[in-house]
């Protein structure tokens, strides 16, 4: 059964390795020049000394040079990439057997179809976890200099580091496997799976994630707040809390105090676990439903 799974998913595995290789080449090229510029400008020392506030020009120059490459390339195009990857691999897993009639062959052998499915799902899921982890590692490595200035809570960083990238891929995969069983055709199943994945993904990103934990309230006397301006969001370096990586929601002047709500930078991993847990739970639900349906209601 392991050989069968490998034989059927071999070309997908090779394609995934190709994607990973392309990403790695891109990351090495951009990452190397970013590292060179970062050390040339002595930014590490500046960050350590003052969280970047003592060298605004150097910070500005660095983010001007690399910010757009990082942001456009990843935030815009790669937002949907994990979903595409997941549905491309997940949808045909059952749907292609139904489309081409090979389910009659596959499920009439001595190995019962539930075991056939379980082994397949286990192996492909394992492959996707490895792929997701590798992509995360590559992206995390190459972005490291930029992360020292921005922390890890920005959308285009948070979504590709830690655990969530892998969880997004798995979730799209799980949805697509289930959709493949229900829709019985690969391409429609991809669409049927991708849309809810994207909706959930955006809802979690913009509506739920800021509230995973109650934000911390910071009260500063207004003498130290340099006028009424507060770096809103997470793009100011350093943010209003004075500490790189804090995710600042809002600040307001109350009397002679500046009140800031924010998620501290050290909550990154907690947030990652919460969000990845959510998507892994959705994956498990979709795959569990698939197994149950295939067991109960034969195709």
């Amino acid at each position: 059964m392991i050989w069968v799974s490998w034989r059927q998913h071999r070309s997908q595995a090779i394609a995934c390795l190709g994607v990973l290789a392309a990403l790695t080449v891109y990351a090495i090229l951009l990452g190397t020049s970013m590292r060179t510029a970062f050390s040339h400008d002595h930014l590490a020392a500046c960050v350590a000394r003052s969280q970047g506030s003592s060298c605004p020009d150097a910070v500005q120059a660095f983010t001007d040079e690399f910010g757009s490459a990082v942001n456009i390339a990843f935030w815009a195009s790669l937002l949907i990439a994990p979903g595409l990857l997941g549905v491309l691999i997940g949808a045909p897993l059952i749907a292609s057997e139904l489309e081409y009639g090979t389910w009659r062959l596959a499920w009439s052998q001595t190995v019962p179809r539930i075991r056939w499915l379980a082994v397949k799902l286990a192996l492909v899921t394992g492959g996707l976890v490895v792929l997701g982890a590798a992509m995360t590692a590559v992206i995390t490595w190459y972005r490291a200099p930029m992360d020292q200035l921005t922390g890890h809570f920005q959308h285009n960083i948070y979504d590709f580091e830690g655990l969530v990238l892998t969880a997004y891929i798995l979730c799209a995969f799980g949805f697509a496997v289930l959709a493949g069983l229900l829709v019985r055709r690969s391409i429609p199943a991809m669409i049927v799976a991708f849309i809810p994945w994207l909706v959930i993904r955006l809802v979690v990103e913009f509506l739920l994630r800021p509230h995973f934990l109650a934000p911390v309230t910071l009260r500063q006397s207004c003498a130290g707040c340099r006028g009424a301006f507060v770096g809103n969001g997470i793009s100011a370096i350093p943010p209003a809390t004075g500490h790189i990586g804090d995710w600042v929601f809002s600040g307001a002047q109350q009397g002679n105090q500046l009140v800031t709500y924010y998620q501290p930078a050290d909550r990154f991993w907690t947030f990652q676990f919460i969000e990845a847990g959510l998507f892994v739970a959705l994956t498990a639900a979709a795959l569990g439903a698939t197994i149950w349906l295939l067991h109960r209601r034969p195709a």
Partner: protein, 320 residues
């Protein structure tokens, strides 16, 4: 008859009031059958008669809506693997993985079947001149059918089920395929069910006949018994059905005479015979065609002397 042939073991196939509903349409209903081990059965019916539904329930690809089916005594849904191990299946259109080589298909067979006979698979390909390295998608339809048959045979299951194995093949490939089936089956003790709407190919091979129309079994039994139990009568056209010595299966009226295929045992036929009647024996194809032309709603059988599926009490209320 079953116990004799199976040597006291369970019949190869037993279906009891088997039915399968799709939405509110019944694909198959009230199917009661028993096939002894070693029988080679032709399952004949027009397209949409429920042949595939019956076969898929035998294999366990779909579950019955009502009734039950057992293969060599294995019934339970819990014994899925045991049942799957007992059936080799060639599905309609011979599904194979297109980008696999023939060797890959065999490796898949070996991986998914503990009883896989690799020697048999390779020997068959050698004999047919199909190279193992060839990709499935480069094979002709006839070769694909042969690979499918080989995958099913090499599973070494005691029941072989072929669903419309030749309907997509050209005449030469049909002939070759049926020749292969016959060569690999006769004398092996294998029980075979071949579903087809083409009757002519089955006559030489099959010793059992099951006719299915409109989701119902019309007749089922050993071919010789069935043939012996039917006569083609030529009677004056005015003769009403009630005066015939048995069930009129199919009647063709011409100007003066009617040709009626009747089901009647020999004694009754002799007793009721009138001098002006002509009684001829029936051929396999003739018999099948007569039953295929019956309206599916007509009651299947009413003669106890035949091994025929009879509608139970519930059947009458279902037909309307």
């Amino acid at each position: 008859m079953t116990q004799d042939d199976a040597g006291g073991g369970a019949p190869a196939l037993r279906a009891e009031r088997l039915g399968r509903r799709y939405g509110h349409l019944w694909g198959l209903r009230d199917c009661t059958l028993e096939l002894p081990a070693g029988a080679i059965a032709a399952l004949v019916g027009p397209n949409g008669a429920g042949k595939t539904t019956l076969l898929e329930m035998i294999i366990g690809l779909i579950e019955p809506t009502e009734g039950e089916v057992s293969v060599f005594g294995v019934t339970s849904r819990a014994q899925v693997a045991a049942r799957l191990a007992r059936v080799g299946y060639v599905a309609q259109d011979h599904p194979l993985y297109r980008d696999f080589s023939v060797a890959d298909m065999f490796r898949l067979g070996r991986a998914l079947n503990p009883s896989w006979d690799q020697g048999l698979a390779q020997a068959r390909m050698d004999a047919l001149g199909i190279p193992l390295k060839r990709k499935v998608k480069t094979l002709s339809g006839g070769q694909r059918a042969q690979v499918s048959l080989t995958v099913a045979l090499a599973k070494r299951a005691p029941l072989l089920v072929l669903d419309e194995p030749v309907s997509s093949l050209d005449p030469v490939a049909r002939l070759e395929f049926m020749r292969e089936v016959m060569a690999s089956v006769v004398g092996t003790g294998l029980t075979v069910i071949i579903a087809s709407h083409v009757v002519s190919e089955l006559e030489r091979l099959c010793d059992w006949l099951i006719v299915l129309t409109g989701g119902r079994v019309q007749i089922a039994g050993p071919a010789d018994d069935l043939l012996a139990a039917h006569r083609l009568l030529t009677v004056p056209r005015a003769t009403p059905d009630a005066e015939l010595p048995g069930l009129p299966v199919h009647r063709t009226d011409s100007d003066r005479h009617s040709t009626v295929l009747v089901r009647a045992d020999r004694a009754r036929l002799a007793a009721m015979r009138r001098p002006e009647w002509l009684a001829d024996p029936v051929g396999f194809e003739q018999l099948v065609m007569a039953y295929l032309q019956r309206r599916p709603e007509t009651a299947a059988a009413d003669d106890d002397s035949l091994a025929v599926a009879r509608p139970g009490p519930a059947a009458t209320e279902v037909t309307r």
